[in-house]
């Protein structure tokens, strides 16, 4: 695989992971029902753990440790050999497993287009709608300053 192809596949996986990490496990599961999911096994049993979340001094400077967050992770291998990884904030190990399965499908030549169309794209549309709703609520609280000019003479 050329490095460009690899980079573009990596970008596609990462974009899918972003959508999946933001979605509820139940929604991912429901979308996956639209696909005839191929045989697969757990390469790594889903597990809970922690990551140390880092910030930057002043927002843009040297990093510092802010505090931890719970995470779940899993790895799934399709019968055809593709290995998918699932990482997500929170303690829902089942969700990490679903993400890993989707990541494996994204890498599969047979399923990549289907999982994008039937799982990732609709979940992305839901997320964008939700994000836009919140942005519109927030925008309504923006201050419109006007200056009152004192009357002349």
């Amino acid at each position: 695989m050329s490095s460009t192809v690899r980079d573009s596949k990596q970008a596609q996986r990462k974009a899918a992971m972003t959508v999946l990490a933001h979605s509820d496990a139940a929604d991912i599961g429901r979308r996956l029902e639209a696909i005839a999911v191929p045989a697969h096994e757990n390469l790594r049993q889903p597990e809970n753990g922690l990551v140390m979340v880092r910030g930057r001094i002043g927002g843009d400077g040297a990093p510092f440790n802010l505090g931890e967050a719970t995470v779940s992770r899993a790895a799934v291998r399709l019968a055809s050999g593709e290995v998918g990884f699932g990482y997500t904030l929170g303690r829902d190990a089942g969700k990490a497993q679903l993400i890993a399965l989707c990541d494996a499908l994204v890498q599969s030549a047979d399923f990549s287009a289907e999982v994008e169309a039937k799982v990732i794209a609709p979940l992305r549309a839901d997320l964008i709608a939700e994000r836009n709703r919140r942005a519109a609520e927030t925008a309504a609280t923006r201050v419109d300053f006007y200056t009152m000019v004192r009357g002349e003479g």
């Binding site: 140390m52 930057r56 001094i57 931890e68 990884f85 997500t88 904030l89 925008a139």
Partner: protein, 367 residues
């Protein structure tokens, strides 16, 4: 010194049973759900996550329920829980400049690019108790308006373009990031460790210290350059995957204090900064943190250290409410043997005192 005292097992068991009963309260009143706590007491949840140093809304809600609303007890429970899970590593540093803004204000510039966005705030409320809330009040849906596409750069970045404010200390990829959960604290402590300590610190303690600096104990003329609250994306470089994987987003509050300037014969004067960052919507916490971050930079900025808020050993050694609670509340544990020896000593001293005072009279009587 503590000694094992046997015989309290039954009493302890029954005390915990009574605690569970009291925690439940009147059983005719509905049991409170974790979702209710997480959704409706969300700022309490944010505080427990911040000071418990663990981002997990559901766990923080459980801790608050178990602790009967005692937030310091809840923070203690969360800290104890985090010791039960393995740590996979550290995330990429979050980029607060790309936050999905929910609130963003500046008290230094009226017309900031991206605007002043009030968001959900207690500011400008009249602080009058609202009897409507007592019984099933249903609020209006929030107002909506078109969201502009313009970016909301950090105010400090705008000031920084003209060199009016000191830059943030640059990242040194070779320098390890200090972690006080792994290495014991030693002094002097670098700013990364100080910020980690302040992020976990008791809000009330930081509030009082920040306030003391405003009142003149380590004054540094602060302005709230910017406070922003919203969602940031979190990424984690996973070795097995081979790239930084997105984990989802967390809510953060960031405060940039802009403080009195420094300068020298070789450097043009510029504003200095104090920084605050916390989980959730934690505005008072991040403002206090930013004030204290700045006071603790006294040594670095060549200021005289003469107030508690400037003394890093004093601040960092007493800021953690779990440690402080442990030491204060350990006074409740049996100190019977210690106390017996004190009592013995006191009786001896009193005997000596009374012997010494009685002696002259006896001498007089003998003469």
């Amino acid at each position: 010194m503590y000694v094992a005292v046997k015989g309290g097992e039954r009493a302890i068991e029954n005390a915990h049973r009574l605690l569970a009963h009291e925690r439940r309260g009147d059983r005719d009143v509905a049991d409170i759900s974790l979702a209710q706590i997480a959704e409706q007491l969300s700022l309490g949840v944010d505080r427990v996550m911040t000071e418990g140093s663990l981002y997990d809304r559901e766990l923080a809600a459980l801790a608050i329920k178990q602790a009967r609303g005692d937030l310091i007890e809840a923070i203690f429970l969360v800290r104890a829980f985090r010791a039960t899970l393995p740590r996979f590593g550290a995330t990429e540093p979050v980029n607060t400049g790309e936050m999905q803004i929910r609130r963003r204000i500046s008290s230094t510039f009226k017309d900031i690019p991206g605007g002043q966005i009030l968001g959900p705030t207690f500011d400008y409320t009249h602080r009058l108790l609202d009897p409507q809330l007592a019984d099933g009040f249903v609020p209006e849906q929030p107002a909506m308006s078109e969201a502009p596409q313009a970016a909301t750069p950090r105010v400090t970045d705008i000031l920084g373009r003209d060199g009016l404010i000191e830059p943030s200390p640059p990242a040194d990829s070779d320098a390890p990031v200090g972690d006080l959960t792994r290495e014991p604290l030693s002094f002097p402590a670098d700013r990364d460790l100080r910020l980690q300590n302040l992020a976990r610190a008791d809000e009330g303690f930081l509030l009082a210290l920040g306030y003391s600096s405003q009142r003149g104990y380590g004054r540094n003329h602060p302005f709230a350059g910017e406070i922003r609250f919203g969602e940031v994306e979190v990424e984690f470089f996973a070795e097995d995957v081979g790239f930084a994987v997105p984990l989802g987003s967390i809510e953060l509050t960031e405060c940039q204090m802009v403080n009195q300037f420094k300068g020298s014969a070789t450097e043009a004067p510029c504003f200095t900064r104090g920084y605050g960052l916390a989980f959730g919507q934690s505005e008072r916490k991040t403002m206090s943190m930013a004030l204290v971050d700045r006071t603790l930079r006294a040594r670095e900025l060549g200021e005289e250290v003469k107030s508690p808020a400037q003394d890093e050993e004093f601040v960092m050694s007493h800021s953690d409410n779990v440690q402080a609670t442990g030491f204060v509340e350990h006074l409740k544990l049996p100190h019977y043997v210690d106390f017996q020896s004190e009592l013995g000593l006191l009786r001896k001293l009193r005997q000596e005192f009374s012997d010494a005072n009685a002696a002259p009279e006896m001498q007089e009587a003998a003469e």
